[in-house]
Amino acid sequence: MEELLYAQPGWTHVAIFFALGAALLVTVLGFVTYAILAERKVLGFMQMRTGPNRVGGRFGLLQTVADVFKLLIKEDTIPKLADRPLFILAPVIAFAPAFMVLATIPFSENMQFADLGVGLLYYVAVSGISTIGILMGGWASNNKYSLLGGMRAAAQMISYEIPLVISVIGVILFAGSLNLNDIVRGQENIAYIFLTPIGFFVFLISSIAELNRTPFDLPEAESELVAGYHVEYSGFRWAFFMLTEYVYLFAMASLTTVLFLGGWNPIPFLDFIPGMLWFGVKFSIVVFFMIWIRGTLPRLRADQLMSFAWKVLLPLALLNIFVSAAVKELFL
């Protein structure tokens, strides 16, 4: 990868990058397909029902494929009074960053698409763009419910980005680098979750809020705003919003694994198992936790959400910086 980046550009290189990008896209879409199925299955298990069980055998293995196919052949409606260009652009703007952030995630020792020095910063900065897409979608639909949903989304995602960013400062202190690869290597002996538990706690909660998942699913609160910002979307444009959500789930779970759970590092005495697999296991635990939360908790109210972000999470995140610095100074 290094040589390729610094070599003279040529058609071969373009082709290689294109192929790699396509491979990642296919992997991610495959994940999304089965993440949706897993979510429905796990929720079904928690709620004592079977979940999908018709298309693709007893476990509904092709259910999501069938759903996506249905969405593809569905009529694409654009409301008459919608702001047409914005309406069309919004799902793309929401989705593209979700996919872009994946480039920096190190999935194993040598499986990373871009080894950026400012990897973490890049992730945070790019993921912020999605908010604009969601707000755009909410505004352009010219629907009052989607406007409310879009506003909620903007307020929520901006508020929770702050504790999210501040909570990882502890990790940066320990690793001494913003590079995600260096951060993983820094955890060879001990995962950062044990060094900055407060940071992990704040990060986990903020990341669920960033993902707009229960109990922070206010932007699309079904029982209040019907579907929130994507209420007017149908067919594949709607699917793009859904895709954004699940790709972010993928990205956020990967980031949690990298920052706090030691990425591809094995736990002692089990290092014969390849790093990729370790990453997968840790990553799945995070995803399962998020689904579990969804099956258990009710939804917060908008004002409670805000006061929780600013009055609880932000002070905790700030405190975490001092605690982490003290820990680093005294024990490491």
């Binding site: 928690m46 409310l148 079904e222 029982s223 019907v226 009710p298 917060l300 908008a302």
Partner: protein, 366 residues
């Protein structure tokens, strides 16, 4: 200087949380409600007018469609009114069967409320748990009368069918099972910090306001008013059972939640005792003339339905059909306080408040 503009938001009649075809036109500033105007009548079927051309037995299935979540109490109120006019003596066994099915219906109704309320607040799982237990009740009721919701089970003078063999034992087994599941609900929901934050202090009204708006049921008992017709004006055989009326004093959605959850427990107590005292044999139908003609006059009876006081007024001219029939439908009265409660709240609270009142649109629109 920020300039804000009011916006008109139409909630319903097709909205996930209006529990049927109910519409509220909101004037909102941001998410804060300035004014709320409920629009009802989408499910109006004119039950009272239709009844004027129907014989008394023919009216009973119409009452099933009013409060379709607890149709047994509706069945009972019309039969009770006619029986009061005709001064009929109801056989013991029929009375016990009536009480058992009514209390089972109350539990089922509160379970639906519990599930949908939590769904409104954003928790998905309790809904499915509550519906699983409700399914058990519905199956038992189905077994005794052949219908899952629109029972048409009671008749003037008794009940239509006797309990099938083994039915009473099934009900007996259900009581401990339900208690166990109820404890599970409390573990999952009642202590949840998010849930408490969502319901505590929301939709508050005082005792006086509740009485002025003629609220009844849990909506009244949450304000500290001890009023339950099963205790205060015992009808049927309710004076034979030992149960207490849960009363709470905070007058908010949290009190209403606790009130309903405890009512499930009390209903279980009643069912348990009724099954214990259930007479071995006997008729389930009194001697009633084939064509029911109550004497000339008027009667008004009221009983405690899961949603509050359901009343039935009959004016008879001694004919096969009533001259005038009127139902006091508790959901309709309970809903009246909604616009008052909504002013100044935000949209999330709208859902909490509306859900907390526990309306059934079939009953609101009659």
């Amino acid at each position: 200087m920020i300039r804000t503009e009011e916006m008109l938001l139409n909630v319903g009649p097709q909205h996930p949380s209006t529990h049927g075809v109910f519409r509220i036109v909101l004037k909102i500033d941001g998410e804060t409600i300035i004014e709320a105007t409920p629009v009802i009548g989408y499910l109006h079927r004119g039950t009272e007018k239709l009844a004027e051309n129907l014989q008394y037995t023919q009216i009973i299935p119409y009452t099933d469609r009013m409060d379709y979540l607890a149709a047994m109490t509706n069945n009972y109120v019309i039969c009770h009114a006619v029986e009061t006019m005709m001064s009929l003596e109801i056989p013991e066994r029929a009375e016990y069967l009536r009480v058992i099915v009514m209390e089972l219906g109350r539990i089922a109704s509160h379970l639906v409320w519990f599930g949908t309320y939590l769904l409104d607040i954003g928790a998905m799982s309790p809904f499915l748990y509550a519906f699983r237990e409700r399914e058990a009740i519905i199956n038992m009721l189905n077994e005794i009368c052949g219908a899952r919701l629109t029972f048409n089970y009671m008749r003037v003078g008794g009940v239509k069918w006797d309990a099938p063999e083994g039915w009473i034992e099934k009900v007996r087994d259900f009581v401990p099972y339900m208690r166990e599941e109820l404890a599970g609900y409390h573990d999952l929901v009642t202590g949840n910090e998010i849930f408490l934050n969502r319901v505590k202090g929301i939709g508050y009204y005082t005792k006086e306001e509740a009485l002025n708006f003629s609220l009844s049921g849990a909506n009244l008992r949450c304000t500290g008013t001890n009023w339950d017709l099963r205790k205060d004006e015992p009808y049927s055989i309710y004076d034979r059972f030992d149960f207490h009326v849960p009363v709470f004093h905070t007058g908010d959605a949290w009190a209403r939640y606790q009130c309903r959850m405890q009512e499930i427990e009390e209903s279980l107590k009643i069912v348990e005792q009724a099954v214990e005292q259930f007479p071995e044999e006997g008729p389930v139908m009194a001697k009633v003339p084939r064509i029911i003609k109550p004497p000339k006059g008027e009667a008004f009876v009221r009983i405690e339905s899961p949603r509050g006081e359901i009343g039935c007024y009959i004016a008879s001219e001694g004919k096969k059909e009533p001259y005038r029939l009127k139902f006091r439908r508790p959901s309709f009265y309970n809903l009246q306080i909604l616009p008052k409660l909504l002013v100044g709240e935000n949209i999330s609270n709208l859902i909490t408040i509306l859900g907390g009142i526990d309306i059934v649109l079939g009953e609101v629109d009659g």
